[in-house]
Symmetry: C2
Amino acid sequence: MREIEPSWDFYRTFLTVLQEGSLSAAARELGLTQPTIGRHIDALEGVIGFQLFIRSPQGLIPTEAATDLKPHAEQLASNAAALLRAATGLGGGVRGTVRISASEVIGIEVLPPLLAALNDRYPDLVIELSLSDAVEDLMRREADIAVRMVAPEQDALITRRIGGIPLGLHAHRRYLDKHGFPDTLEDLLHHRTIGFDRESAFVRAIRKRVPLIELMRPSFRADSNLAQLAAIRAGSGIGVCQVALARRDPDIVRLFKTEFELPLETFVVMHENLKTTPRCRATFDALVEGLLAYIGT
Amino acid sequence: MREIEPSWDFYRTFLTVLQEGSLSAAARELGLTQPTIGRHIDALEGVIGFQLFIRSPQGLIPTEAATDLKPHAEQLASNAAALLRAATGLGGGVRGTVRISASEVIGIEVLPPLLAALNDRYPDLVIELSLSDAVEDLMRREADIAVRMVAPEQDALITRRIGGIPLGLHAHRRYLDKHGFPDTLEDLLHHRTIGFDRESAFVRAIRKRVPLIELMRPSFRADSNLAQLAAIRAGSGIGVCQVALARRDPDIVRLFKTEFELPLETFVVMHENLKTTPRCRATFDALVEGLLAYIGT
DNA sequence: TCTCTCTCATTCATTTTTGTATATCAGATA
DNA sequence: TATCTGATATACAAAAATGAATGAGAGAGA
């Protein structure tokens, strides 16, 4: 007895409906029509024997079954996208699409010039940049190359250690003019500081290094390092950011240069299977080279 | 501009052709016909702009492009299978299919009674057992649950340490009657021994523990632990196997009980997403319980 | 050499899938 | 209340994919 396997296209339709919330919206997204999408869902429900959505005049409400299957469908979509990227880059030469995952700060402040230079050099190279502080999983093919702040553990990944990007305490001159210069680290307790919203591995690392941080009550909180950087630039208070970025603005002052410096270990990581792919290889090398130069400054 | 994405079914067809080696064979496998399969491949080649196969009267010979894309397609198939497994097990209760990955020895000698009992208890549970000494990747959804001899490193996996399965040196009485009893470990150098064909992490671990092994020239080599066990049972010589398995046969004698004992660390591992799925939960618990009992004997 | 069997390619009828048009329902807004 | 906009469901026609049949080439074996 052979089970009849549903068309893989049904999975794509299913995921799109889940993402868009209605048959009509999914139809627009996929370039199909609403009746077709409806039939796909009907067929899929028929095969798996469960209702996936509750139809309503407002759209389709996913059942528990649908939410259970969602992560699988998402991974399927990631893989399909990765396959297509691999396909477009076939045939020698640096061409096709490469998808890079990086943190927001790195992606916004550091990578753009590097990637622009890369694009100048290889006009047929298309770069997708996925910014998130959540660690995107290279194993799941959500990206081809990642810039990471933690050493990856999987063996199937090839990793190049860049080194520590130095972080320092900074404030805008405008803030310091108004609130004074902290003379000692303890003075920070009476200053406006910029901190994290939630606990994270990165925050714990800072805490461990500088226990004083524990006592500080930040007057501005944001999980986004980018928002923190913006807050420093706007003169909201004293915060932690990359030394090299702060130096770009002559009005930003580094505080406690000797007492506080935290190196942020950085790695460029790529899936092993991609190392022979010209576009990935070129991008990987450019990122390594560019980030090394950035650290050197 | 929106790229036209090929049907995901084309990927399935592509992979099947790659696996089967011909359009006709793939058609039989998929329950379609040869012209259909041919059209799928034509369409896929059209979209990606590369020839995937060289047609010949003997079948289709994959081009480099095709072999480059193969791992992606395989992963896609794994994911689709995982989604389908998840779908069949929906709706509460222990039902549906669960896929277990284990080493050959564990899968053949240890798990069957456990799984039989599990199946007795849950008649609607279907178990797939994938035996390989290569570590199947749970992240790639090639299996739902794995019995492993190395601690996994990914955070997304939930792991239960079972403990060390004791390994010992054994020989069949028939062999010992013929070749005599080794009095010291050094005597092993003059005995027929059973060893590994290739180097592996496991072999290196043994070497480190018992450097003498280094000097031994096995007269029977096999990578398969199962084959080694069979060789011991057949009286081919002295080899390493699980103490508990050897004890089952009263004619197998354990040698150097005090001088040689190697605990084989064992873990049961499952993807975190599956922990709330009844069928996976029940299977996981049964494996943990059963293996703990096995170790206890 | 002939035949048998495997393969892929092509043609045409059939089946299936899809799209168009329309009906219906629910909510927001004038 | 009337209307407009979003949604799903359904009927029927159009388009597309599929299957059946056939042709042709390449080996294997008698």
